[in-house]
């Protein structure tokens, strides 16, 4: 797409950041076209830029500059403006110098008009050569013809304001007349046309537009850190991502570091939505202090499992314990679920020493139950578990108890002094209900929980409920 010579491209790459900016400024500051002025406010370099440009200017032979400027009064002002831009890319001093020198040489120190005209011709030729395809594509928007001149004309006339707006947007590099692929072309112009391009208004429009987009991109993309090569790459890259070499480059100029193609944008959106959801979930789930998404997901999974378990346990307890229905409350007592469970779990070896259904119990029964359970545990863990279940209690691993306590009830904390003792793990549970075995063993516990089929946090849940809800 850009047959322009390599050297032009390299020059462009070198010059882009700086060239464009000064050129834009030049153009902006220049009064040759209203467009420039329109562009001015958008790209506005600060006064600091002026200093830089002045330095640059001073570095170059004055005659050439004057020649350059002569056809175009504002040129000088532009260049000073350009200095502002240059400051943005401060480290391109050398490049600017080199480019200006080259321009100077190109100008040949001759009369400004002839030099600039020649320059322009060259530029136009280059443009036509390099950006013919792009130009054609671009001109589609700009209505420009085959020649670079026509393009700039259209550029200058039609869309200057729009150009500016587009450019100012910063995120989109939309120059209908200016194809992204023409970045190199622009660079060409930039390199050559620091001042010379401004020779005539129409032609100056051209460089303006080219520069503006470039500069706009530079400034607003804030790729100051990136040399012109980056700009070039971006323009070329954006062009490559686009459907056609010319149009897409200008279509979307995303911010630096972000992709421009629709896929990545969609991906980004998706990721944002997921992050939102994760945040919402974080509030629902306790212990949501994790910042890591993966651990957060783990937490969520555990919590869902825990809740499902709770529901299961509660329904089990209702089945075996406090009983489902109002009319039967009175009938609950001695017989009932607890016994049933005991029998079901182990064929009923467990004697019914207590009122299985009553989960709450006095201290008397507590000790009694404890002793009972302890005895049972010695002989048969299964029966002990059944016994507990009959009472609406269960033995559970401390970890689970902790989880439940933290998740459900604050007030339970003092109760659940689990520490690491199995005893501790059980006692709080039972104590909350009023009962507790003396010393179950953890291993047995887990085994039993497995055999019994659910482990269950029957009593603990209930306890939590009863404790937390006075």
């Amino acid at each position: 797409m850009q047959p322009c010579s390599r050297e032009m491209q390299t020059m462009n790459s070198l010059l882009n950041p700086t060239q464009q900016i000064p050129l834009q400024d030049l153009q902006n500051n220049g009064n040759s076209n209203g467009h420039q002025q329109i562009q001015n406010p958008q790209f506005d370099p600060t006064s600091s830029h002026d200093d830089f440009l002045e330095q640059m200017l001073s570095a170059l032979p004055s005659c050439s500059w004057s020649d350059l400027k002569s056809p175009w009064d504002p040129a000088k002002a532009d260049e000073t403006g350009g200095a502002n831009l240059d400051n943005n890319v401060g480290f391109h001093y050398d490049e600017i110098l080199a480019s200006k020198l080259r321009q100077h040489q190109i100008n040949g120190g001759g009369g400004s008009s002839p030099a600039t005209a020649a320059m322009k011709m060259m530029m136009q030729q280059q443009m036509m050569l390099a950006g013919r395809a792009a130009a054609a594509a671009a001109s589609g928007g700009g209505g420009g013809g085959g020649g670079g001149l026509t393009m700039p004309l259209s550029l200058g006339s039609s869309a200057a304001g729009s150009h500016q707006n587009d450019i100012v947007d910063g995120s989109s590099f939309k120059s209908p007349n200016h194809q992204g692929g023409e970045g190199s072309v622009q660079a060409l112009f930039n390199s050559f046309g620091a001042g010379s391009l401004h020779g005539t208004n129409p032609s100056s429009n051209q460089p303006q537009h080219f520069h503006h987009p470039q500069g706009g991109t530079m400034q607003q993309a804030q790729n100051f850190g990136a040399p012109a090569g980056t700009v070039m790459n971006q323009s070329q890259a954006s062009g490559s991502t686009g459907v056609t070499p010319a149009q897409p480059k200008q279509r979307v100029r995303a911010r630096r570091g972000q992709a421009t193609d629709p896929h990545s944008i969609a991906e980004r959106l998706r990721r944002e939505r997921i992050a939102e959801r994760m945040k919402a979930l974080q509030e629902l789930v306790p212990n949501a202090n994790k910042t890591d998404k993966a651990s957060m997901l783990d937490e969520i999974i555990d919590y869902v499992k825990f809740l499902q378990l709770q529901v299961k346990v509660l329904s089990m307890s209702r089945l075996g314990g406090a009983a489902a229905v109002a009319p039967l409350v009175a009938d609950m007592p001695s017989e009932g679920g607890g016994d049933c469970i005991q029998t079901s779990a182990n064929g009923g070896s467990l004697p019914r020493n207590s009122n299985g259904n009553q989960t709450s119990s006095t201290n008397d029964s507590l000790t009694v139950t404890e002793q009972q359970v302890a005895k049972l545990m010695e002989e048969d863990m299964g029966s002990a578990m059944q016994y507990l279940q009959g009472k609406g209690l269960c033995l559970m691993p401390i970890s689970l108890a902790t989880a439940i306590s933290t998740a459900t009830c604050h007030s339970r904390n003092p109760m659940i002094n689990n520490g690491n003792a199995n005893n501790g793990g059980n006692h709080p549970l039972l104590q909350s209900t009023g009962e507790g075995p003396s010393s179950p063993s953890m291993s047995v516990l887990t085994v039993q929980s497995a055999t019994i089929g659910n482990g269950v946090v029957d009593g603990s849940v209930k306890d939590a409920a009863s404790v937390s809800k006075p």
């Binding site: 979930l281 997901l297 869902v304 529901v311 329904s315 009983a323 229905v325």
Partner: protein
Amino acid sequence: MSPHHPNPSSLKSRFTTRFLRALTKINAQNPISSSSPREILQRFRRIKVAADKSMAYSVRSRRTWSRAMRWKLRSRSWRQASSVRRLKITTSCHQAIMKKTAHERENKTTTGEGVGFGVQTDELRELVPGGEAMDLCNLLDETAHYIKCLTTQVQVMRKIVDFYSP
């Protein structure tokens, strides 16, 4: 703590009404004095089903997981009714749905989750009913709602238990 739910039409109150109704029905059918282990388990299962069902219905199918749960319950009840014809219908429906979900899953994986949670995502899918057919974004949404409903369920059940156990 007052047993009254402030908002008469909230999820909680809806669930409570349905659940209590189901519970009474269950208890009426199956007096608690039955001591056969199997029956106890059955009863337990029934209660659990009742809880799930009432929850799913009270959510009124607005959510994917409630729809999936309803479907599952319905198909299960059909299967239990052991009507061959119904079973066939169920299985065919099931197959259709499974195919659809598989297809969706393919799409999902091809589009790529982009977040790389892999294992955990699958786990979550298993936990949340109907989670197989959703992409991560919707899955998280459904999970949030599901968690909210589960907590409601747990609260109500606990309250009932407390209420009925002195």
